[in-house]
């Protein structure tokens, strides 16, 4: 059974599930069998019983429990004859079947405690079942003796019961009206609770069934809904100034705040499933595809236990399967090619999953041939996705990205699993539907790597409330890049028209603009002061600006589905209830972009490529940086990848908690870290933020709000100069602790801030069990 033990390592959870399910099924089967005796012809009962045995047989065969399989197999054959009407259920058959239930229960007990299906072969039981199946009656003796044998395995404890069964069997043969008694004796509960030295391992099986209960997903959804309501109510209470006045009330509010956050987290956890629930079939998928195409491939998985929301798990199933198939079919070369290229004959598909800054990251990497940029370019031109002029202006990265375009395929021949050109486009749209996005990184000859970023849950998301045409709308923060407010009468920042599309020049790039009121056919509401609010949104790595009347608030919202009637309108992702109890629609950024016909790819790409080519080459490693002043007069570039937003706090709002400076922010306590403290400022004494003598309480402090592993922290900087896109390749060595090196930005030597140092700081903050800052 060494084999079984190996299996057990990887499959413990599956086996636990099987045990729990089977025990449940057997309990039901006890009842069904008894009911069937009263009504021997009931097809529904028979079908139920047959199904239970059949699924036990099927599953245990898969796990390699041969004895369990063979015993249930005989039972199944007998049951199938009963079901098909070839046999009629007699008392005798019912008794034997009940004994079969006991035998299976014993074996399940053995599996749980020892990992094997026990030593007892149940020869007599199998023989009796076989005999009955052939239409012969069991001899008076065997049913009793067999049930004794069956129970011998768990000697003393089952003895009592086996003699009961024996008695019942004996009785059965004369008196057909003993059913009620039988129910009492054969159903498992009285047995387990009768107090007669309960069998320890029997208890074990019960505990599997009891430590986990099945809950209807509807109830969980409803619970989630209620918690959502609670979060809203809490936000309302926390925002009320009344709560600040009475210290008792303030205290109670803080507790309410903490409890609500924990409740929210726990309820969310009930809907969490490890990603392994979909990953565990991939080794098989990879093996089969590799075999079908004469390739060799293995799967490596890391972070199997990473959990995500059930709804996300379901939505991820197909996209992931597709990516994995692609990796083997397109990515990994034949063994000969691989060996010729100096790689091991066996290809590798690595799956990695982990949580990072409140999101789930899933990576699928192969060590195959990588993406052939030339072939994609060729194919894209051939398919008319881009013109050759455009192709020549596009960066390699942009071209690689074309594999996500509709209709794209590079497979030389269409196989039955990939190459039909529907795949990656569908993968991308499906991921975007659930608020995720996909990136691709590929090195010719070394392999490709897909990186998928997903929200942890779909139920509660941070969002920005905006107004347009006197209606309030929520935009998920995940798709917002930045907010711009411009004076549209100012000629230097005016809106230009290109091919009839309004565009805004944003740091040298053209940003297509969409007017929300026009898209939604609302009234025209130009701001009287000539100011224009642009919400820069990103969808599928493309940016556009959404022009709204006003930007109201940033808050956590509970996503509620729209009724069927409204689902046909693609620009809404759902609705939510805002703090004042009103309903606000949640905009679907992708649907909005499609409605505005912004995804007519080529034009947009052309504009993108065009604007980029006028700036610098080598965009591959570019990333946005915030340029800020350091307190010693220098400049520092702060990578903005994990920046949530930029905030300004009045100096008077900052509070001191212990040794830490904090500020109340969005209903939570946000710890603040001064950039100067992290940087080992060259000046002797780092500036203090609170209790300044020369500064007044109305002075403004600039903070960059970061979110790391679900914790937010504000990084205080002296002055924010600009936000630029720049290559992240260092041009000089680190100058001090807290920096990564130096680069030249806008003709100035600029230090680059090491976000890692901030992360370490946050980690050290949260080593203490206090959680007030999180949530």
């Amino acid at each position: 059974m060494a084999n079984n033990e190996n299996l057990l390592d990887g499959m413990e959870e599956v086996i636990q599930e099987f045990l729990a399910e089977s025990v449940e099924g057997l309990d039901q089967m006890d009842n069904d069998l008894v009911a069937l005796e009263a009504d021997p012809g009931d097809p529904d009962l028979l079908a139920n019983i047959f199904r239970t045995i059949h699924s036990i047989k099927g599953t245990c065969g898969f796990f390699g429990y041969a004895k369990l399989e063979s015993v249930s197999h005989v039972g199944e054959s007998l049951l199938s004859q009963l079901r098909d009407g070839e046999l009629v259920l007699t008392q005798e058959i019912a008794t034997v079947l009940l004994n079969l239930v006991d035998a299976i229960r014993e074996m399940l007990t053995a599996i749980e405690s020892t990992g094997t299906d026990g030593e007892n072969k149940y020869v007599d039981l199998v023989a009796t079942l076989g005999r009955l199946k052939d239409g012969a009656s069991a001899t008076p003796g065997p049913p009793a003796s067999k049930s004794k044998k069956a129970s011998n395995h768990a000697k003393t404890t089952r003895k009592n019961k086996s003699s009961d069964t024996e008695a019942a069997t004996a009785e059965d043969e004369q008196a057909p009206s003993v059913k009620p008694q039988r129910t009492g004796k054969d159903s498992p509960k009285p047995d387990a609770t009768s107090g007669e030295q309960p069998n320890q391992s029997t208890r074990g099986v019960v505990s599997v069934a009891e430590s986990a209960i099945r809950v209807d997903v509807d109830i969980l959804d409803n619970l989630m809904n209620l918690v959502g309501e609670l979060v809203l109510a809490r936000n309302q209470i926390l925002a009320s100034p009344v709560t600040q006045e009475d210290p008792l009330l303030t205290n109670a509010c803080q507790r309410l705040n903490l409890i609500t956050s924990e409740l929210q987290q726990d309820v969310m956890k009930t809907r969490m499933q490890p990603i392994n629930t979909i990953w565990n079939k991939f080794p098989r998928v990879v093996r089969d595809i590799a075999k079908a195409y004469g390739k060799q491939a293995k799967v490596e998985m890391e972070g199997k236990e990473t959990e995500l929301d059930k709804s996300l798990i379901e939505a991820m199933k197909d996209p992931l399967t597709h990516l994995i198939r692609n990796a083997v079919d397109h990515g990994i070369e034949t063994p000969d090619e691989r060996v010729a290229n100096g790689k091991p004959a066996e290809g590798r598909v690595a799956l990695t999953a982990y949580h990072a800054s409140g999101q789930v990251i899933i990576e699928i990497a192969d060590d195959g041939a990588g993406i052939n940029v030339a072939r994609i370019r060729e194919k894209a031109i051939e398919l008319g996705l881009i013109t050759s002029t455009q192709a020549s202006q596009m960066s390699e990265r942009d071209i690689t990205r074309l594999i996500f375009a509709p209709g794209m395929t590079t497979s030389k021949k269409v196989t039955n699993i990939s190459g039909r050109g529907v795949g990656m486009d569908v993968v991308r749209t499906n991921l975007e539907k659930i608020g995720g996005f996909i990136e691709l990184d590929s090195t010719p000859g070394r392999g490709s790597s897909f990186r998928i970023q997903l929200p942890l849950t779909l139920a509660i998301i941070p969002a920005l409330l905006v107004r347009s045409g006197n209606e309030s709308f929520a935009i998920p923060q995940g798709s917002i890049l930045e907010l711009i407010r411009i004076n549209q009468d100012d000629s230097s920042s005016s809106i230009e028209m290109i091919h009839g599309v309004p565009v805004f020049r944003l740091r040298g790039k053209l940003l297509p603009l969409v007017y929300l009121n026009r898209e939604l056919e609302l009234g025209d509401t130009r701001q009287p002061d000539g100011m224009l609010n642009i919400v820069v949104l990103q969808v599928d790595q493309r940016k556009f600006g959404l022009v709204v009347e006003a930007v109201d608030d940033s808050t956590e919202i509970v996503v509620k589905p729209l009724s069927e009637i409204l689902k046909a309108i693609p620009v809404y992702a759902g609705a939510t209830i805002t703090g004042n109890g009103k309903v606000a629609l949640i905009l679907d950024v992708l649907g909005l972009a499609q409605r505005a016909k912004l995804l007519s790819e080529s034009q947009d790409r052309y504009m993108d490529a065009n604007a980029e080519s006028t700036t610098h080459g080598g965009e591959a490693d570019r990333r946005p940086f915030i340029i800020a002043n350091t307190t010693d007069g220098g400049h520092i570039a702060i990578p903005v990848d994990s920046v949530v937003r930029l905030e300004e706090f009045k100096r008077g709002c900052l509070e001191q908690a212990g040794s830490r400076t904090v500020v109340q922010y969005g209903g939570k306590i946000l710890p603040l870290i001064n950039l100067a403290e992290l940087l080992q400022e060259r000046r002797r004494k780092p500036r203090k933020i609170v209790g300044q003598d020369t500064k007044t309480a109305n002075d403004v402090v600039h903070a960059i709000v970061y979110s790391v592993d679900g914790y937010s922290v504000g990084l205080i900087v002296d002055r924010i100069q600009d936000i630029v896109d720049h290559s992240q390749t260092m041009q000089g060595p680190p100058t001090r602790k807290g920096t990564l090196g130096t680069i030249v930005i806008q003709e100035r030597i600029t230090e680059v801030f090491d976000v890692g140092s901030l992360q370490r700081e946050i980690c050290s903050m949260h080593k203490t069990p206090q959680r007030a800052a999180g949530g």
């Binding site: 209620l226 209606e471 939604l520 009724s563 009637i565 309108i569 809404y572 309903v583 606000a584 629609l585």
Partner: protein, 165 residues
């Protein structure tokens, strides 16, 4: 065949409309409506029903009747069919009536327009006709061209309804 049936009644532009009480969840006075841009005209907006977001359908527009006077606040009849809940906006709420099955008559064949699909039949009350609403069809806007239907069409439907009375 003289089974009693409980019917919740309400008034929409002088018509007495009825729905089996089993479909009616509750009746609410004025509720703040959130407009849904791009939705069919029948959809008046969304209401917040204790945390649940419910779509409100204007029964006048659904039945192609003339619009309600702007100073007349509608009443929400929150109804449920299968698992879907909507609020029907009506003019006034009437009594819950007990009707006997033998006074039921299927809708006249010559009913045209929206009424043809939405009215299953009538109960002849002493002084009035009670028009029974087909809730499933009322809630199904999938083939709805209501948003674009002209005023003329609604007039025609209106006269049709009048004729049946």
């Amino acid at each position: 065949m003289n089974a009693l049936r409980q019917v919740c009644t309400f008034i929409v532009d002088s018509h007495l409309i009825g729905l089996d009480t089993k479909h009616v969840r509750e009746v609410l006075r004025f509720q703040e409506l959130t407009n849904v841009p791009l939705s069919p005209l029948t959809v008046s907006g969304l209401i917040n029903l204790r945390g649940e977001i419910v779509t409100a359908l204007d029964l006048r527009i659904r039945l192609e009747l003339p619009p309600r006077a702007s100073d007349q606040p509608p009443i929400n009849v929150v109804v449920r069919n299968n698992s879907e809940t909507v609020s029907l906006l009506v003019d006034e709420i009437g009594d819950v009536l007990e009707v006997t099955e033998d006074t039921f008559e299927p809708a006249p064949e010559h009913l045209e327009g929206a009424a043809h699909d939405l009215i299953v039949g009538t109960y002849q009350l002493e002084d009035k006709l009670l028009l029974m609403l087909n809730l499933k069809n009322t809630m199904d806007l999938s083939d709805s061209t209501t948003s674009t239907r002209s005023v003329h069409a609604s007039r025609v439907a209106e006269t049709d309804l009048r004729q049946t009375q």
